[in-house]
Symmetry: C2
């Protein structure tokens, strides 16, 4: 099993916001060490790569087990319906690849602590 | 100096999304222990309380130093302009109260680790 990770953000008309996601993904790569064979980001809309294109990149890298991580704070339609629909598209085309969708970021048990750490950074 | 914290989210037409922010704020209260005299949430739009109303609640609780924490993943116009404009409104009305705006959540150094923890929660 070759593990890979896809960080999925909403995507923005502001190029800077999309670049922030790309920089974050690079930081996740560093933090993850050798845990994943490949880590990419993708956008639900408004910026490339799309979710199917991001998944295709990981599959091209040899991934056989991909975790999709929704970089979203709330469980709206995007998390509940749109991301699963995009993932399903790739699942049907690549039945030999396992693709799981992780809980969206906002559900993390560590979120309250992270918010308090951010306050500390205010100085 | 009596410290208080205001968690500011965008606000959504989905009541569940706004309730998620309220539940998160309750979890932040537990995580913070006695560090803040009061912790409230507020919404930039689409849900009550507004930022001025949230700040007023904290001031009514006796707060003299308030940290505003933007619960946002990207530095868009909301973070750069709209939240500061709302805060400025209250600053002018209450010149004796110090109100600081913390970095928005997406900038946190701990974010890559939080993302990887969320993947672990996938089971």
């Amino acid at each position: 099993m070759i593990d890979a990770l896809l960080v999925v953000a909403h995507g923005s008309r502001r190029a800077e916001s999309n670049d922030e996601v790309r920089v974050l993904t690079e930081r996740v790569r560093h933090a993850a060490g050798h845990r994943f064979a490949a880590i990419e980001c993708a956008f639900l809309e408004l910026a490339p790569p799309s979710i199917p294109d991001g998944l295709a990149r990981l599959i091209d890298h040899g991934a056989t087990h991909i975790t999709v991580l929704p970089y979203f704070l709330a469980a709206g339609r995007h998390v509940a319906e749109d991301i699963p629909a995009e993932v399903e598209h790739t699942r049907r085309r690549h039945p030999g690849i396992t693709i799981e969708i992780a809980p969206y970021l906002g559900t993390s048990d560590a979120m309250p602590g992270l918010l308090l750490d951010t306050v500390d950074a205010t100085g």
